[in-house]
């Protein structure tokens, strides 16, 4: 809407600053509270500077091996999910789409669960690297199948029917969720517990390897998506209009679908299904400033990271020392927003959501 007095640059700076603050605050809070001084000391020592004060090795371990990777994983996963929401909303030309709704996440979770449960029973002797790649690859395949199915069903003759899309999403979600449930049933106990936990997402297993894998695909995904920002905007006008503006529609849609599945599947294979971040984040950005996809992609990456860090901080502090599944928090906030959007779409059939 561009009704804000903030310039794009100012908003990016503000979001970056907020992201920085939320990382620091989130790192500090938890079962063991750290002080800002400690955070500074540990960070400096991790960067190779010697510290003047003696370091508490237990707390340093908590910070370096548990807290920091977890918060950073939240940031990259949040960015991945929010950017995916932006891409899917442009692809489906509808602002109520997100990876959790159209089955991408559920499909990816099923693919990952398949590797998780069957991988060991097959007894495949893959090396560590191959093993850690099998998970995202299977998740990618599952997510792609699910997204393609919903997209094919909802998109007839260049038009996306909202009702069909949501119903197809429900059905595809059900298929993959029941598949994951079945795997949990046949799995041996400790595995099963982690799979069920997955359906609502968890960051408790965060480590540096997961951070690295998700960070690489997300950064690559965002940079590639930015190259297509113009075409994403043009697609908002409709497929033939975009073609008249020189966009190679089939080629472009395939690339966006693959790109989107890549970033969602990688994130999902590490932390499970987390809904509604991809829905709420682009929506907020449109209300704040603009529906231009270039802005939405950059903005979603930053704001999605902030949103998920905040949600995870709540998840592990609300009922500390126990921990809520993070999906509980995001759905609790996101689902009402989704319903509100749906009601507005119904009541303003002429103007759409944002009139």
């Amino acid at each position: 809407m561009n009704n804000s007095r903030w310039t794009f640059g100012a908003l990016y700076s503000l979001l970056t600053a907020l992201l920085f603050v939320s990382v620091i605050v989130s790192v500090r809070l938890g079962a063991i509270d750290l002080s800002y001084g400690q955070i500074l000391d540990y960070t400096l020592s991790a960067l190779g500077f010697s510290s003047s004060s003696p370091l508490n090795t237990l707390q340093q371990g908590v910070f370096m091996q548990i807290r920091l990777p977890r918060v950073l994983l939240c940031a990259v996963v949040g960015a991945a999910l929010a950017v995916s929401g932006t891409l899917m909303q442009a692809l489906f030309r509808n602002p109520i789409v997100e990876p959790g709704l159209v089955g991408t996440s559920a499909g990816a979770a099923f693919g990952a669960a398949l590797v998780f449960v069957l991988g060991k029973s097959i007894g495949a002797s893959y090396s560590d690297l191959l093993g850690s790649l099998a998970l995202p690859v299977a998740a990618f395949a599952g997510g792609l199948v699910a997204t393609l199915a919903v997209y094919r069903i909802a998109n007839t003759q260049g038009k996306v029917t909202v009702a069909t899309m949501i119903l197809a999403g429900v059905a595809v979600n059900a298929i993959f969720t029941s598949g994951t449930g079945f795997l949990a049933y046949i799995a041996r106990d400790p595995q099963a517990r982690s799979i069920t936990f997955w359906s609502l997402g968890t960051f408790s297993g965060a480590d540096w390897k997961a951070v690295a894998i998700v960070a690489v695909t997300t950064v690559v995904g965002v940079l590639l998506a930015l190259r297509y920002a113009k075409a994403l905007n043009a697609l908002l006008l409709g497929e033939s209009e975009a073609a008249y503006l020189g966009v190679n529609i089939q080629h472009f849609k395939t690339i966006i679908l693959l790109l989107n599945t890549l970033i969602v599947a990688t994130a999902t294979s590490m932390v499970g299904v987390i809904g509604f971040v991809g829905l709420v984040t682009p929506h907020l950005l449109r209300l704040i400033k603009s529906a231009d996809n270039r802005f939405l992609i950059i903005g979603s990456a930053l704001l999605g990271a902030i949103v998920l860090i905040a949600a995870d901080t709540l998840a592990r502090t609300l009922i500390a020392p126990a921990e809520l599944p993070i999906g509980v928090i995001t759905s609790f906030v996101g689902a009402p927003v989704f319903l509100w959007l749906l009601v507005r779409q119904k009541s303003q059939s002429q103007g759409g959501f944002y009139a």
Binding site: L237, E241, F353, Y354
Partner: protein
């Protein structure tokens, strides 16, 4: 003696900008276009007329290069249209469709800027911004430039898309050594309009068609699907009448449009009347 001194006069033949040869399209088992061969000239506004389902929009889509499933060929200048020269085509050819499904809160300015997308890579240049402003000025919607597109009326939305389309082909393509515009000989531009005035009030209908004529005068081939016979006759240099996917008549409006044709094609009775100040044929229809 004189003949030898004076250079030979160029033959002032009307320039064919766009040709359709034996276009046949079948959609969903129905033959929509049944072998259409015709030509359109730069500098002229050509109106496509015909009853509902006669293939007008399909023909427009084929000419504009969107629909490629049929047989036959479309030539821009001498160049055959293929899917390979899509991005080149987008710089010389613009299309205003019947309706757009934009459901996101973009500003009017942002929508018009989309017309410049084929011309810049990542960010619009100052030149692109100036062209968008000029296009908005042309349709007199400069005051709307920061408005949310979704809050506009149907007619206002249509005018915004017209500005977008104008911005897309605002200038004749620049000839450079690296990019030869084979689709646009002598800098010809192409504008396709599909029922462009359906949501506009009377004043803007005339303003719109007037702007289309002005653009045609700047070496542009304008091809429009129109429902209003009288406006087509008033603003068209040529009309092409379709029925059941075939060309039933083509030529200048006064030569083609007759009560008999309206009866044969539309099944309506009509009387040709004369109105003060209007030289084109004018009809009162009775149904």
């Amino acid at each position: 003696m004189l003949e030898q001194i004076l250079p030979e006069q160029p033959i002032l033949e009307p320039r064919t900008a766009l040709q359709a040869r034996e276009l046949r399209v079948t959609l969903g088992g129905n033959e929509i276009l049944r072998g259409i061969t015709t030509r359109f000239e730069a500098g002229k506004v050509s109106m496509i007329l015909g009853p509902n389902g006669s293939g007008k929009t399909t023909l427009l889509n084929v000419l504009a290069g969107e629909l490629t499933s049929g047989s036959g060929e479309v030539l821009y200048g001498e160049q055959r249209l293929t899917t390979k020269n899509r991005s080149q085509l987008a710089r010389v050819r613009a299309v205003l469709a019947q309706h757009s499904e934009l459901a996101f809160p973009l500003t009017v300015e942002e929508v018009v800027m989309m017309g410049r997308y084929p011309h810049f890579v990542l960010k619009p240049t100052r030149h692109d911004t100036e062209i968008c402003a000029a296009a908005l000025e042309q349709i007199r919607m400069m005051d709307f430039r920061r408005r949310n597109y979704l809050t506009l009326s149907g007619g206002e939305r249509q005018r915004v898309h017209f500005a977008r389309v104008l911005a897309q082909i605002w200038e004749a393509p620049q000839h450079s050594e690296h990019t030869s515009h084979t689709l646009s000989q002598n800098g010809t531009r192409y504008l396709f309009l599909d029922e462009p005035i359906s949501f506009l009030d009377l004043k803007y209908q005339h303003e719109f068609l007037h702007t289309a004529r002005e653009l045609a005068a700047q070496n542009t081939a304008v091809v429009a699907v129109l429902h209003d016979i009288n406006l087509a006759a008033q603003y068209g240099d040529a009309v092409l009448v379709l029925n059941h996917g075939c060309v039933v008549a083509e030529g200048a409006p006064h030569a083609v449009l007759k009560p008999e044709l309206l009866w044969n094609v539309y099944g309506v009775r009509s009387t040709q009347v004369s109105a003060a100040g209007i030289n084109s044929p004018f009809f009162v229809t009775y149904g």
